[in-house]
Symmetry: D2
Subunit: 224 residues, 4 copies
């Protein structure tokens, strides 16, 4: 009796599906030394991992750090194929720009117009390959909260460009620079140049890592 | 009769006093290419001169431009003796700092701490010699009004230092940077990088020269 | 009679082969503004083209300029696929490095170690795809012949790296820097900083273009 | 009997003269961190002091170090009055220029033309005041011996200027750059970038301090 057999099979199939391992979304964090440290103990990637577990979403995400110290946007581009595309990620967060600005003070920063070209080359390729990009503005080089850090102007410019690029291209944005500046406005009454969100004006302390993790996780979990 | 004679002499003396040439106050403008241009046609020094005449104060002031293109604070220090002290001025306006910041982008700016040392060496010497100093904050390098000009952070820092130095040492201040930023906030709706107060992001156009002249003249005429 | 027929056909086939259009070798010149100008009138690529015609080799080569002003090695990498690989060249001459060094003076040069990475990425890919690379050392930034041009040290370093890379990887080398320095040693008795081989310390005058053309053509025509 | 008395006095006077304290020549070493370290144990000034004692000339010289880390030529100028002129020296050795070149890589070096102006201001003033100047060329930033240290070109330029200035103005010269380059040519077979004469590419090790001491002492003791 065919009908009966099918009737018996259906619940079984559903049961099997239910226990079938869910395909996790692979999330790659693509960046510089901040991201490299973010994959270590107390780092922002570890914190996002913990938050996903606390939210009972551990089975839905796999988090992979791909940060290398000193990287600028063109360094990301150089290792884009092996470190990102070949890894078959579902989501890629690009957190870059600090060294592009910072290293101008040592002679080897990135021209503003070139920054945009490489940035777009990365994001466009991700989109073409059906990978979800998420972009982040560069956080800070110095924590003075009255706009007097040497490279505040340039960081503002690069951050503004990323914001506009995200809006124009429909790419989710984690506006780290705005988040950091707002936080420092409220929480740096003595106007120190480090120690509130960073250990050395650039690299994140615990609070800095948590701030980044909160902002990124909010966007990651909202993605379909 | 002595009394009578005296009675006759008094009006004569008063008459003589009235026609006695007033000792003009010599005002030196000490600075870079902006000041060098300020002494030319349409320049801010020429405008101050016109304003003093319009206020019927032409006989009280002599205005002398001592600006040289490319000068940083230490260049002022190098030519301080011949160009300023030897000229026996009454008032000296020091308008410097733009090249100290700007030239960092070409490798030859001025360290922040050194800037302060040379600045103080100039102002302290003026005060010791009974010459009235007036200090000015550096105006702009780029007219974008959202804090994205490459060197906005550094200009803010040097301007802040000058403000605090002026307050601490009781030196009259012409806060050109604040005046320029406020003006651009109101009058640069398209957020252009030049053409509102400068011709090339740095050197002043007519409006820029007038703005500087207005602010300086207000302070100069108020000095006893 | 088969034999006779074949005997008749053979000379015909040879005749046809002789008139068959030769597959020209496509030679791409990949570089910066010097190469961009090299494709213009009097430029080194035009001169190589003339020399190939004078040598009755016009039918064997097609010369294509792919130079863009301001390009550093990573800019070449960014446009490598469309501008070089997609053009299916047989030979590619890479003439880059001047801006990588020069722009350090404006804050946006290329780190020495990164230079090597991008350089190798380009040359390795050419080799993998069966395209013949030819590398060139960067010529000059300033023509003083006593080692006092500001960036002589750095240019020497990058040139040395290219020489060693070429030797190690069996890549033909056009040692422009050595050729230029040797020429200036002999032909710059007044030790001028420009005007012997360049118009502005960097971009080539007629003699400079001819020197580059001679050196490149010698290598190009020697390639099998 | 007068004769007898005089006969008795003469040996006494001679005796007194012999024991009269010789007026020591005060030698100031005016410079940057290399000179600051030079005044410490094992430093070049200490070595010169030892050499003067070994030559039984200890009573003829007093050696005073006036070096401050990070100093460029304009820093020397700023502290010239209190640190040099007010000390009433007989001889002043000026050893400066490394930071003027080096700091270009961090944005705050010294323009070539300004270097000359400040240098001349110092040397001219010494001469006017009857103080004997001795000038030194800047030694090295990096010990590679094939002209590939990043700032070799610029150091060569500043050194060349000092050589020509010394010749033109009849100022004794200690050509440290030449001495160092010659030494490295002979004694750096592995072409290391540090460790032969410096500990860190700039600051002197024992051998470097001895080399400087030898060259300076030779000039100092030759001065009338």
């Amino acid at each position: 009796m065919m009908v009966k057999k099918t009737a018996l099979l259906l619940p079984l199939v559903l049961l099997m599906l239910a226990f079938q391992p869910v395909k996790k979304k692979k999330v790659i964090f693509f960046g510089d030394s901040i991201t490299q440290q973010g994959a270590g103990p107390g780092g922002y990637i570890m914190r996002i991992d913990s938050m996903s577990k606390a939210a009972h979403l551990a089975d839905q995400f796999e988090f992979v750090g791909k940060g290398i110290g000193g990287n600028k946007v063109y360094d990301l581009f150089l290792r884009f194929q092996p470190d990102v595309l070949d890894q078959k990620p579902d989501i890629v967060l690009v957190y870059v720009g600090i060294n592009d600005v910072w290293h101008k003070a040592m002679g080897t920063g990135t021209d503003f117009d070139k920054f945009g070209k490489f940035y777009d080359a990365i994001i466009s390729t991700l989109k073409k390959q059906g990978i979800q990009p998420v972009v982040c503005t560069p956080s800070v080089i110095g924590e003075w909260n009255d706009g007097t850090n040497q490279q505040d102007g340039d960081l503002n410019l690069y951050a503004k460009w990323i914001r506009e690029y995200a809006a124009k291209n429909g790419v989710p944005l984690v506006d780290l620079r705005k988040i950091f500046l707002d936080y420092l406005q409220q929480n740096n009454p003595e106007n120190k140049d480090r120690g509130i969100l960073t250990v050395d004006r650039v690299h994140l302390n615990e609070k800095g890592n948590q701030l980044v993790a909160d902002a990124m996780w909010k966007v990651i979990r909202s993605l379909k």
